[in-house]
């Protein structure tokens, strides 16, 4: 650009030959320019690379968690085992005590055609079945007592080692003593697969089971319910309070020291580390108010306090975006100030408020640290019926599984992360739709 202008200047030395161009370091400067731009591209590329790496890791390790190896066995619910007293109508306690693993072992031994006298082979075969078979078969019998004494085909969970083996997650070619499945068991697995009695089916248990120390029987059921309770509490607590506070600060508050102080407070709260909210919850809600530890109620309240600044900031922005002419028109037609706010300004600001709320909720859904402090790292196997019962949360469940050593738990926690990310993506997607669809540009 510079040399072009120089050349075209008509006043510069009309007669003599053009003087040698002054070296103004253009080459060097353009080089620097190109390098600078390349740094920028490299930075963006690095960021995107990290994003891809992270997502790739999670998805490649986690997608298999949605399938679970199961074994179909013709289980004979022998009366002498399920109902030893022969009442024909055993109570729950009897059903609890029955030796279901024996039923499963008999079934798999018969299925594979093993000589029952060969103890070692029978033990190897029985090890293919999850130890959770006790609960599974009990539920089958309890739901239909007429099964006692009959034979029924039941899909039961395979042991997590079998599951990992079938999914090819460990090297089966190493020598026998160094892998968790021996050659005989591999033979059985093949035999069952050829019979169509062993296959990978969709893992509903991931969404319905509570926690368990056995990977194949561990699921997100309790965590999903706990997280749902907490999101409900956050919504019910922080949306009304947040909106009311923003309305006051934006529409009514006089400019004075006190409102300034509130404003500084809110901005600071938005930047307080989340773990500090956990300490607050522990000291105030659990120690002082003696609410039950590891309950969804305490978790929800802590997350509400954490989400409040986000909602207030978003709501204030939405209220600010409503043009003053609306307010003037309402007041001019004789509305009181309250009527002006609640009948005119608030409805117009609603899409913005909801967008901010959903984003705040998404943030709260993924938050882990404060929940660790209020005792949600608890081993909870039963569904929480009320928010006062012990429960856990989706991210906390991921944390607990991430600390387990077994390979199958890595798969489970990656699967749980995928579930969490899908929820977050849906919420953010919904927020974007809401903004695109309903937000007005004035």
């Amino acid at each position: 650009m510079t040399d072009a202008t120089l050349r075209s200047l008509p006043t510069a030395a009309p007669t003599s030959a053009a003087p040698p161009r002054r070296d103004i370091g253009l080459k060097r400067r353009y080089g620097a320019e190109r390098r600078f731009k390349a740094y920028g591209i490299a930075a963006v590329g690095t960021g995107l690379f990290f994003l891809c790496w992270l997502l790739y890791t999670v998805i490649s390790q986690g997608y298999t968690a949605f399938w679970q190896t199961e074994i179909r066995l013709p289980i004979t619910f022998a009366a002498n085992i399920v109902d030893p007293r022969g009442t024909g109508n055993p109570d729950m306690a009897t059903l609890q005590r029955a030796n279901y693993p024996k039923l499963a072992q008999d079934a798999i031994v018969a299925k594979l055609g093993i000589d029952p006298a060969d103890r070692g082979a029978a033990r190897d075969a029985a090890a293919l079945v999850s130890a959770n078979v006790r609960a599974e078969l009990r539920d089958v019998v309890a739901s239909d007592l007429t099964l006692i004494g009959k034979t029924q085909e039941v899909w039961i969970l395979a042991n997590s080692v079998v599951d990992s083996g079938v999914k090819g997650q460990f090297d089966l070619s190493v020598e026998e003593s160094r892998r968790p499945l021996n050659d005989r068991q591999l033979g059985y697995i093949q035999q069952l697969e050829q019979d169509g009695a062993l296959e990978q089916r969709f893992n509903w248990g991931l969404f319905t089971f509570g926690n368990s120390s056995r990977a194949e029987a561990a699921g997100l059921g309790v965590a999903l319910i706990g997280s749902a309770w907490m999101m409900l509490i956050v919504l019910v607590v922080s949306l009304p309070i947040g909106v009311a506070a923003s309305i006051y600060l934006e529409e009514f508050a006089p400019k004075n020291k006190f409102t300034d102080f509130i404003e500084v407070n809110i901005n600071n709260l938005a930047a307080v580390p989340s773990i500090v909210y956990g300490l607050l919850g522990l000291a105030v809600f659990i120690n002082y108010m003696s609410l039950p530890r590891s309950s969804a109620l305490v978790g929800g309240l802590v997350l509400s306090l954490m989400t409040l600044p986000t909602i207030i900031i978003a709501t204030r922005a939405a209220l600010k975006a409503v043009p003053p002419s609306i307010r003037a028109a309402a007041l001019g037609l004789g509305a009181s100030k309250n009527q002006m706010v609640f009948h005119h300004v608030l409805p117009l600001a609603m899409p913005g408020i909801l967008t901010g709320t959903i984003i705040g909720l998404a943030h709260a859904l993924g938050e882990t640290a404060p929940l660790l402090l209020i005792g949600m790292v608890a081993f909870v196997a039963d569904y929480p019926a009320t928010p006062l019962d012990a429960s856990t949360a989706l991210p906390v469940q991921i944390y607990m599984w991430a600390n387990e050593a077994e390979r199958a738990f890595v798969e489970r926690s990656s699967g749980a992360i995928i579930v969490l990310l899908i929820f977050l993506a849906l919420m953010n997607f919904f927020a974007i739709i809401l903004r695109r669809r309903f937000e007005r540009r004035w």
Binding site: V44, G47, V58, L305, Y399
Partner: protein, 494 residues
């Protein structure tokens, strides 16, 4: 009545008051000449507030005060000397008595009538059978105290029911009697609504106060047991759990934790600041609209991913990756394949935290860079500067205060980050300058001191609050300084 039944009853009365007041106002408007000052629905709301608010306020006050009074009443039956274990902790005796009372409540009436003659040794197994475990330190005198407690609670609940429902009815009757043509119902209702709004906006202040005071109180208690200088300047962190009866409480030195926190945050900033700043500059100054509209949301996805996911990523992928690659490098250089980077190390935690902070730096800086007015850019370009020279000599200096404050906010985020360091930084409280080793942070120790069994009287649990206070103070200072820099040095271009 149970509390929720009382609340429901009050709400029912309030709704009835709404309907009655509204009808009465409409009736007055029809019967009398003249115009209602407020619309009938405001009269209804007037009735509703009078019925519900005094009653619910009384309910809250009662629920807060009654347990305190009940405990005092119960303590009047305690012997003067509580015994060697309990005299230091009367609160523990209260808890035990309360548990006994709770258990007696669950008993069938026939058994309950004989309770006052039982010694505690006979009562405890009965209570355990009802699902109320009683500590072995329970004393005989707790039984009459527990019975007294039950009597007080029953009386208190009955009185509360009568008072609250009476207040609701009285409020409704009062509001109905006040309704006439010129009643300024709307103004009164709006005043109540406005006071709700004020109340809601003070929640933020209350939260801050709650954070500061709760941590301050617990931390003070900790500093009674461990001198504050030992905490602030101690270089050894070893909170061994004291055996029962001994006074040894372990060493609680903040220095190794703070060093680890700052070191990891520093490594994270080394990763995040160059990448984030260059990305922001590229996006603001070079990228065309199409690229920006794709890349910017993608980078912001990184900000939306929960930190537990980053922690998992560090634990499962990045840590082992760095360990293996260091083994390979070591093998190539020296021939021995030993890894010199531990899987849990400062580098792992810092790198992953840096990745998490990239979108934070880039979107904050992007906003600040785009806020620099067009005219400065055009002026610089018009004088013949290249784009990069414009960025380096004009835009960055103009945006500097904003960027510095953004970096301080990022730093505060890095210091307060928990899940990544819990999973990736390790729990050994070392002091080291080798980034390939493990170091621990303040947040990790808060988590590890407070998960598992809790005892609000032991320094091992209370130290977490002192650590939390430190964390809160550091991040607060960083945030305030960031705000101050922006206010003081920001150029006003309009």
């Amino acid at each position: 009545m149970s509390t929720s039944a009382i609340i429901l009853a009050v709400l029912a009365i309030a709704i009835a008051a709404y309907a009655l007041a509204r009808r009465k106002a409409a009736g007055i408007a029809a019967a009398e000449t003249g115009k209602l000052h407020s619309m009938p629905s405001y009269h209804g709301a007037y009735g509703l507030f009078w019925a519900a608010l005094p009653a619910l306020l009384a309910l809250c006050a009662w629920l807060i005060l009654s347990p305190i009074l009940a405990t005092q009443d119960m303590r009047s039956l305690y012997p003067d000397d509580l015994g060697p274990q309990l005299s230091a902790f009367p609160g523990v005796a209260d808890d035990m008595t309360r548990a006994i009372a709770e258990g007696i409540r669950r008993m069938p009436d026939a058994v309950r009538a004989t309770v006052h003659q039982m010694p505690i040794a006979e009562l405890s197994p009965l209570l355990a059978g009802l699902g109320v475990p009683v500590a072995s330190a329970a004393q005989d005198w707790m039984i009459p105290a527990a019975l007294q407690r039950i009597a007080f609670d029953d009386w208190s609940r009955l009185a509360m029911t009568i008072v609250v429902i009476g207040l609701a009815l009285a409020g409704a009757a009062f509001a109905l009697s006040r309704i006439r043509l010129r009643l300024t119902a709307r103004n009164r209702v709006e005043a109540v609504i406005r006071s709700f709004l004020v109340l809601a906006s003070t929640i933020a202040v209350l939260t801050t106060a709650g954070i500061v005071f709760s941590m301050l109180f617990e931390a003070m208690e900790f500093f009674h047991m461990v001198p504050i200088t030992d905490f602030l300047f101690g270089t050894v962190w070893d909170p061994r759990f004291a055996a029962a009866g001994t006074n040894a409480s372990g060493q609680f030195g903040l220095v190794p934790l703070l060093a680890g926190t700052l070191y990891i945050a520093f490594v994270a900033m080394l990763v995040a600041v160059p990448i984030g700043l260059f990305a922001a500059v590229y996006m603001a100054e070079y990228a065309n609209n199409r690229v920006r509209s794709v890349v910017k949301p993608l980078l912001e996805v990184l900000a939306g991913i929960p930190t537990i996911v980053y922690g998992f990523f560090a634990l499962i992928t990045v840590g082992p990756f760095l360990r293996d690659i260091s083994a390979d490098i070591n093998g190539l250089l020296t021939g021995t394949y030993g890894s010199f980077i531990q899987a849990q190390s400062i580098l792992t935690a810092g790198l992953v935290m840096g990745i998490m902070l990239i979108p934070f730096v880039s979107s904050l800086s992007d906003d600040i860079i785009t806020a620099v007015p067009r005219s400065l850019r055009d002026g610089s370009l018009g004088l013949g500067a290249t784009r990069s020279e414009t960025v380096k000599r004009v835009i960055l200096p103009a945006a500097l205060p904003g960027i510095v404050s953004a970096l301080l906010l990022t730093m505060s985020r890095a210091i307060g980050e928990t899940m990544i360091v819990v999973l990736a930084a390790g729990i050994a409280a070392n002091i080291t300058i080798n980034p390939f080793e493990a170091m621990t942070t303040v947040t990790v120790k808060i988590v590890s001191q407070l998960t598992g069994d809790l005892d609000f009287t032991s320094p091992q649990s209370l130290v977490a609050f002192a650590l939390g206070l430190t964390l809160f103070a550091i991040t607060l200072i960083l945030n305030v300084v960031a705000l101050y820099i922006v206010r003081k040095y920001r150029e006003q271009y309009d």
